[in-house]
């Protein structure tokens, strides 16, 4: 009798645990300031609306998360992950990510079609940043306007660059190619030549954005390429810095929400993606994380409107790389970067 009771209790307990687990959505994204912002702007309102619990997993960069999805063949242990458009395309091609459509995620219908197309069928674009030129307002007598200003003599030894393992490096090389007579997709040589000269002007390379920004905050460097969202957070923190979208334009970092093909809680994951793309959520996200949106119908402050990508006109000004070609060239460019650009640094 005792045994039967114990067995019955165990079965009941296990069912309760399974049920509770069924209501938990595991979202994998970044740590640091990002975590608090996403908790307040998106996760808490989502939990309130759907009466579920979101477990936030801040472990790993998007590259590590993608490697985990690949290694587990689409069952990495989280339901939603924040990655990039390039990873969305690769994951979709390899059948590791769940395709999404307007039928399953209604708010996809409101995204800019060109941007959505860049991310492919498995990525829901939830934010857009652009590579900006961040500079110290107290050190430069004149604010920069162009990418070419990075080569000014007074910035010698006052620039830090990303390592090639940070996608910012490839984008900056593409931008430089475009600035110096090449092309972001088909003629990258002028980009590498410019980056080699810029490396000689720099103090070296760092991979993590958090470390890169520490250089400009403590005044060791006076200018550097940086994503506009994090640049705005630095401006808001009171650091003597500002940033520009240089006159030659920039390449956007298209961030996507993705669902691994073997996610445990796919239905809730789709609801989360839809919730994140909703007009009010996007407005909160643009206002709090200081990024742009692929929805041009959102209402945001004049300041955000002026500096962020929020309209079709803003989107049209950006240089959109062919991500499939970037992905195919990445290894070769990486080797070229190590051979040509890195040795030129001080």
């Amino acid at each position: 009798m005792k045994r039967a009771l114990l067995a019955a209790s165990a079965v009941t307990l296990s069912s309760v645990i399974t049920l509770a687990h069924g209501q938990d959505l595991i979202v994998n994204s970044y740590g640091g300031p990002y975590e608090q912002i996403i908790q307040d702007a998106i996760i808490k309102p989502f939990e309130e609306q759907y009466g579920v619990r979101v477990i936030y997993d801040a472990v790993g960069s998007s590259q590590q998360d993608y490697a985990k999805i690949k290694a587990t063949k689409g069952r990495p242990g989280f339901d939603v992950v924040v990655m990039s458009a390039s990873q969305s395309l690769d994951g979709c091609r390899e059948g590791l990510l769940e395709p999404m459509s307007v039928e399953t995620v209604h708010n996809l219908a409101y995204l800019n079609p060109a941007i959505s197309a860049v991310a492919g069928a498995c990525g829901a674009v939830h934010e857009i940043q652009y590579l900006s030129l961040l500079y110290r307002t107290d050190k430069l007598t004149e604010a920069p306007t162009s990418w070419k200003d990075l080569f000014n003599e007074d910035l010698h030894g006052r620039i830090v660059l990303p390592t090639f393992a940070n996608i910012m490096a490839a984008y900056l090389t593409q931008i430089m190619a475009s600035v110096y007579g090449g092309d972001i997709n088909d003629n990258i040589d002028p980009g590498f030549e410019a980056m080699t000269r810029l490396a000689a002007q720099s103090i070296g390379f760092e991979q993590a954005s958090a470390i890169l920004e520490s250089y400009i905050v403590d005044g060791r460097v006076w200018a550097m390429p940086f994503w506009d969202g994090r640049a705005q957070l630095l401006v808001d923190s009171g650091a003597p810095v500002d940033y520009i979208l240089p006159e030659e334009g920039s390449i956007p970092l298209i961030a996507t929400l993705n669902i691994p093909v073997g996610a445990d809680n796919k239905e809730l994951a789709l609801k989360f993606v839809d919730f994140f793309l909703a007009k009010t959520s996007q407005e909160r996200w643009v206002q709090s994380y200081k990024v742009g949106s692929a929805r041009s119908d959102i209402e945001v402050s004049d300041e955000a409107r002026a500096r962020k990508i929020t309209t079709q006109a803003d989107l049209d000004e950006l240089l959109l790389p062919n991500l499939a070609s970037l992905s195919a060239n990445l290894a070769e460019w990486g080797m070229r970067w190590e051979r040509e650009v890195v040795p030129a640094a001080r």
């Binding site: 960069s61 590590q64 993608y66 490697a67 690769d90 393992a165 080797m335 190590e338 051979r339 890195v342």
Partner: protein, 293 residues
């Protein structure tokens, strides 16, 4: 009773004894097979399947051995690991000797200090060294402040910084390895030699070093293999231009998503360590024979 029956009766206790002897080895052997041998086999198999191609080929190995960039990375790994092995053993020997022979009340303090680096995580310790060694770090700021130098010395983001950081991380293992060996040497041998007129240097050269060769070799091997496979310290203290096999494997796995090429690099690293271990053990035997008196 036939001879066959007698033999069978004799074999039974032998089999039981063998079973008793080897049964305790089964669980670790199974764990090694499941979590080491099989994954290693899979990695070797993966290295023969180039990214995006079907069928097995040696293309990835050709790519590795025909590329000066990866070969320089391999050379740098060997040089870095060799330097750390020498530093760890040379610095660890006096400390291990003190710990093995001293009866000073400071012995416990020295022992605690010797293993203290292991109390903090490797990333934390390495960032600590970065704060000390970087261009605007403690040493350079102090030297510039004192007017001894005008430009910062290149202490970090190069081989020097990495060797310092790795020596600090691995030194406790070297000390413990040498300590075991030194504790096995009878102190009376040293006393007898000194009574017979041998100088301190002579005692070290003719008694201590020959008798502790196994400890010296194991300290060097341990330091070499730990350095060759270290990722965090070369990545943090070496900077972008300092590529060793471990950091290159990381980039291939996570950034380029080329696991086949990463497997080639990992296999080369493994073979290199096996060669060094083989040479080490042969050297140990030869030196032990040569230096015996």
């Amino acid at each position: 009773m036939s001879s066959l029956a007698i033999n069978a009766a004799k074999d039974r206790p032998m089999r039981t004894a063998l079973l008793r002897k080897y049964t305790p080895l089964l669980p670790p052997a199974l764990i090694l097979l499941l979590f080491f041998a099989i994954p290693m086999g899979m990695m070797v198999g993966l290295s023969f399947q180039p990214k995006g191609a079907s069928g097995a080929s040696l293309a990835n190995y050709e790519r590795f051995f025909n590329d000066d960039f990866t070969l320089i990375g391999l050379g740098r790994t060997v040089l870095m690991s060799g330097l750390v092995a020498i530093c760890v053993t040379v610095m660890g020997y006096p400390v291990a000797y003190f710990l093995a022979r001293s009866r000073s009340p400071w012995r416990a303090v020295v022992f605690a200090l010797a293993i203290a680096p292991e109390l903090a995580g490797v990333v934390l310790r390495t960032y600590g060294w970065l704060i000390i060694l970087e261009d605007h770090g403690f040493i350079n700021n102090a030297l510039v402040g004192l007017g001894l130098i005008s430009e910062p010395l290149p202490l970090a983001k190069n081989m020097f910084g990495v060797v310092i950081g790795l020596t600090h991380v691995i030194l406790p293992f070297g000390i413990l390895s040498l300590l075991t060996s030194l504790q096995g040497v009878d102190p009376n041998l040293e006393k007898s030699a000194q009574i017979l007129g041998a100088s301190r240097l002579s005692v070290i050269r003719h008694i201590l070093v020959p008798l502790t060769i196994p400890g010296i070799v194991s300290s060097m091997l341990l330091a070499f293999t730990m350095s060759a496979s270290a990722y965090a310290t070369p990545a943090i203290l070496g900077g972008a231009g300092f590529k060793v096999l471990a950091t290159m494997v990381y980039e291939q796995v996570l950034f380029y998503i080329d696991w086949s090429f990463a497997a080639v690099m990992a296999n080369v690293l493994l073979v290199m360590m096996l060669i060094v271990a083989f040479i080490g053990s042969r050297l140990e035997m030869r030196l032990h024979k040569k230096l015996q008196f």
